[in-house]
């Protein structure tokens, strides 16, 4: 019977592939493998490379990613020692430490492993936070801040819990996010605003204060200048009076005449502006209206 060479070749290639699938497996640099024989643990393969195996269902190979897996917890609320509610999210890096134990604990399912690790991490996180004050988490004072110690305490708590149990090792754990619940956030907003309002009020009052001081200083300085000028003016006038008094000696010769002349002068000065004068006909020179000398009985009548 003549056989088609193509069919033979194709069948041979397929046979080789199928044989490779049944009798060999590869472990990548990033992986570890667990080999079971009839369901019982046989051995683990931690070195990358080409490996032989017995075919299914005799032997079964489970391969896991051996690298550090990133795991993030949700942002959830907890309370500090001084009763301040905070919201914290943590991240963790874990890797498979014991492939056999990992297979037994989680059936080789990384999702299930993370679901199992989640309450452990959450418990450690809440536990450690509750033993610290809020100011241990956030403070400008370096000596007071215990951020790094808190993370270390969380890591220690998680490691103590999962050691020898789950077949995984927690490589790192850190706080990824830190916040406050919404109700507290609103009050922080209010306080921040009030702080700014305090500054606003302070600046405005300071401006008013300095403006008033400046104005008062200016007024005082101006008053002083004017007062000094007034005093100086009076002194000058006094000196003038003193100087003028020496000339008044001349009036001593006839004081009555001097006073009369002064009265006349004063009268003239006082009648200078807007005066009404009601005079009788006896007042000189209006007495002339009653009759001129030599004109007896004659007079002006109105």
């Amino acid at each position: 019977m003549k056989r088609n060479p193509i069919t033979v070749f194709t069948a041979a290639v397929l046979l080789v592939i199928f044989a490779c699938m049944l009798f060999t497996f590869q472990v990548r640099q990033t992986e570890v493998a667990v080999v079971t024989t009839f369901g019982r643990y046989s051995h683990s393969v931690t070195n990358a490379g080409f490996q032989f195996r017995l075919p299914w269902p005799i032997q079964k190979v489970y391969q896991f990613d051996h690298r550090v897996q990133s795991f993030e917890r949700k942002f959830d609320e907890t309370i500090t020692k001084d009763q301040i509610n905070v919201i914290i999210a943590v991240y963790a890096g874990w890797r498979i430490a014991d492939p056999k134990l990992f297979l037994e604990s989680f059936n080789g399912d990384t999702t299930r492993a993370e679901q199992t690790l989640e309450p452990v991490i959450r418990n450690a996180k809440s536990g450690v936070i509750s033993t610290n004050n809020f100011s241990d988490l956030i403070s400008t004072n370096q000596a007071e801040l215990k951020f790094d110690q808190i993370e270390k305490a969380m890591l220690d708590a998680v490691q103590a819990q999962i050691k020898q149990t789950y077949g995984v090792a927690i490589e790192s754990l850190g706080i990824k996010q830190l916040g406050l619940p919404e109700s507290i956030t609103s009050t922080v907003f209010e306080r921040m605003r009030a702080e700014r309002q305090r500054l606003v009020a302070g600046y405005l009052s300071e401006g008013e204060r300095r403006a008033k001081i400046t104005r008062a200083d200016a007024d005082a300085q101006a008053n002083k200048i004017l007062a000094e000028a007034s005093g100086e003016a009076k002194r000058i006038l006094g000196e003038a009076d003193a100087k003028a008094s020496q000339y008044y000696e001349a009036f001593r010769k006839n004081p009555d005449l001097a006073i009369f002349l002064m009265q006349l002068n004063a009268l003239e000065q006082s009648l200078k502006d807007r005066a009404y004068l009601i005079l009788g006909p006896q007042t000189a020179p209006f007495n002339l209206l009653n009759g001129a000398p030599g004109d007896a009985g004659a007079g002006v009548r109105k």
């Binding site: 699938m21 991240y91 100011s135 200048i225 004017l226 001349a250 010769k253 005449l257 009404y276 002006v300």
Partner: protein, 641 residues
């Protein structure tokens, strides 16, 4: 013999039904996308085989009827038989004709809708398909291989029978059987691929099958349309509308050219099968395909790494000594699956943002303000996140545990980071999600920095130093984690007070402080301006007062001197005639003084009249009515004399 053919027809649709159901169970068991889409082909094959079986039975009935008729015609020779209507004479033929005229096009139309609908639905739903279950892959692979064998053997037998006996009604079922065999083989192959870590192959093949399903739908539609315009040749059997040439082609790759030739012969009457091209392809097609597959396999011995990339070369999963990292250029390696290269974008600057992610739509505006939202809205949140906690020096100083004050402020932070991979092996082999870990570390360092720095300091003078400090801290953490990256840049350009909410606008309050600073300065400057005016004015006034005093002093002295001198002379005149001098002086003075004065002289002394004198100042009417001012004499006097 016809009975045997019918039995084969029954076996065809029955096997397609059973294998289809079993295949559906295996596809669900192994989460095989290829197997799931393959079930559709098997189900359609079952329907096509079932319809062709019924058509086969109708044709058989017609054949028997025709034989019976011929027998009767020979034995009786009665003319009355020929007088009956043909429909009454050949009911089986009439049934077959009715079947082909109505039911076959209807079934073909339904087939088209099923094919098109299934192609569309699977194309859309495959994106959400779960990857194959690795644990179940070997079992699924073995079962699919078994299905493939059963379908292939039966399909080959049916197609051979159809070809040898000229039984066209066996062809659709046979075609679907062989196609089902190939699909089951493909499903077994994809399961093997998934087993070797190529889970994506299953999805790609499933998409390919969707495409084929869509093409068969198009072919069915085109066949329906062509059937309307096809030239009818008397005596030539009509083509089966629901028989797909494409499926026949895929099911029997060896008959590729035959099918093409048959199609051309059918449509145009051109004998392709007699040409040398057909004969050559018929002989060499398998070798050509094998050669192509060989070339494809050998093409895996070289790899070209692009300028932005580096590659990791692994031999049986282990990094190759001395050539673990491949630089840009051409490289040779052992073929797949011995050597495998994994490419990474190591030279490209990559980035991520810690905190708020800027919204390109909102930032398109020319001005980005604190008081306007400019970050991407996150699902289930307000316009922006409340912000990150940052220490407050003032609050810390006042904080008192009994008051439970929160010694913290909130800041809106958006810090872009840029990095380059410097050690590919560290990046790829240490962490499963290196980029995610780097983002987590950066987040952690930003939080750690903010909780220990004063808000006002980081927002003002400490900003540049803070950016550099954060970059160095993230770099140090990345080095500790053996990430193999270089943090090129960390920017602190977008760090400001949060927007707040409607009731409590925080960012706006910060702007009000600046306004208050300006207002303070404004008030001070106005006061200085007042002082600058007031003091020189007072100085001028003082100068004026002094000048007036000096003038008055000079005047007073001069007047005194003049009056003294005058009095001396007046004394001389007075002594000459005291009475006359006094009277003259008095009258002169009165005349001079009374000249501008309004005078009322009462001459009557013996009257009892009451005189009313109005000394009230009145506004002259002419001032109100015209611009002309009359002399006082013309004004009507208000006096009563």
């Amino acid at each position: 013999m016809e009975r045997d053919l019918q039995r084969v027809g029954v076996i065809n649709w029955f096997v397609l039904l059973v294998v289809g159901a079993a295949s559906a169970i295996v596809a669900g068991y192994a989460a095989s996308a290829t197997g799931t889409v393959g079930v559709v082909f098997l189900c359609l094959g079952f329907l096509a085989a079932l319809v062709s079986y019924f058509q086969m039975r109708l044709e058989e009935r017609e054949r028997l009827e025709r034989l019976e008729y011929e027998e009767l015609k020979k034995s009786r020779g009665s003319a009355t038989l020929f007088q009956e209507a043909e429909g009454d004479t050949f009911p089986a033929q009439r049934s077959r004709e009715q079947f082909e005229r109505y039911l076959v096009p209807l079934f073909t139309a339904l087939l088209f809708l099923s094919q098109g609908g299934a192609a569309w639905w699977f194309w859309k739903s495959l994106a959400k398909a779960a990857p194959p279950k690795l644990d179940h892959a070997p079992v699924a692979m073995a079962l699919y291989a078994l299905f493939a064998l059963i379908l292939f053997l039966l399909g080959k037998y049916s197609s051979g029978l159809a070809r040898l006996k000229g039984q066209r009604l066996l062809r659709p079922g046979a075609g679907y059987l062989i196609l089902g065999a190939f699909i089951c083989f493909l499903a077994a192959t994809t399961e093997a691929g998934a087993f070797f870590g190529l889970a994506k192959v299953d999805l790609f093949v499933a998409y390919g099958l969707c495409l084929v399903l869509g093409l068969t739908a198009v072919e069915t539609l085109v066949g329906l349309v062509f059937e309307i315009y096809r030239p009818r040749v008397k005596g030539q059997a009509a083509r089966l509308l629901y028989e797909s040439r494409l499926i026949g082609l895929l099911g029997q790759p060896g008959g590729l050219i035959t099918t093409a030739a048959q199609a051309l012969d059918y449509q145009f009457g051109f004998k392709v099968s007699e040409t040398w091209v057909y004969r050559f392809l018929e002989k060499a097609l398998a070798w050509i395909i094998l050669l192509q597959l060989g070339a494809l396999f050998l093409s895996t011995v070289f790899v070209i790494i692009e300028p932005t990339e580096q590659g990791l070369l692994e031999r049986f999963g282990r990094p190759v000594n001395g050539r673990a990292v491949l630089e840009p250029g051409l490289h040779f390696k052992w073929p797949w699956p011995i050597d495998i290269v994994y490419r990474y974008q190591t030279r490209r600057i990559q980035g991520f943002v810690v905190g708020e992610v800027p919204d390109p739509d909102l930032e398109r505006e020319r001005t980005v303000l604190w008081t306007r939202p400019h970050f991407r809205r996150r699902e289930g949140e307000g316009s922006e996140m409340p912000g990150m906690l940052v220490a407050s020096r003032g609050q810390a100083a006042r904080s008192d545990t009994s008051e439970k004050a929160v010694p913290a402020n909130l800041l809106t932070v958006s810090i872009p980071f840029q990095y380059q991979i410097t050690n590919l092996q560290a990046w790829a082999y240490q962490h499963a999600n290196s980029d995610q870990l780097l983002q987590d570390l950066a987040n952690r360092e930003v939080i750690r920095y903010l909780v220990n720095v004063d808000m006002e300091q980081i927002m003002s003078s400490g900003r540049l130093a803070a950016a550099e400090d954060i970059r160095q801290r993230v770099q140090a953490r990345a080095n500790d984690a053996h990430l193999g990256v270089n943090i090129v840049f960390a920017g602190l350009q977008d760090i400001h007070p949060p927007l707040g909410n409607k009731r409590t606008p925080v960012a706006a309050a910060f702007e009000q402080v600046v306004s208050a600073l300006h207002q303070r300065q404004t008030n001070i400057l106005y006061a200085l301006a007042y002082a600058a005016e007031k003091i020189p004015s007072a100085e001028a006034e003082a100068t004026n007062v002094l000048a007036q005093a000096r003038n008055a002093a000079v005047t007073r002295v001069a007047l005194a001197e003049g009056e003294a001198a005058r009095f001396t002379n007046q004394m001389v005149a007075y002594e000459a005639s005291p009475a006359v001098y006094l009277q003259r002086t008095r009258l002169d003075t009165l005349a001079r003084a009374l000249e501008p004065v309004r005078k009322y002289v009462l001459t009557a002394t013996n009257t009892v009249d009451i005189l009313m004198l109005n000394f009230e100042e009145k506004i002259r009417e002419d001032l109100l009515t015209s611009g002309t001012i009359l002399p006082p004499d013309v004004t009507p006097s208000a006096t009563n004399k």
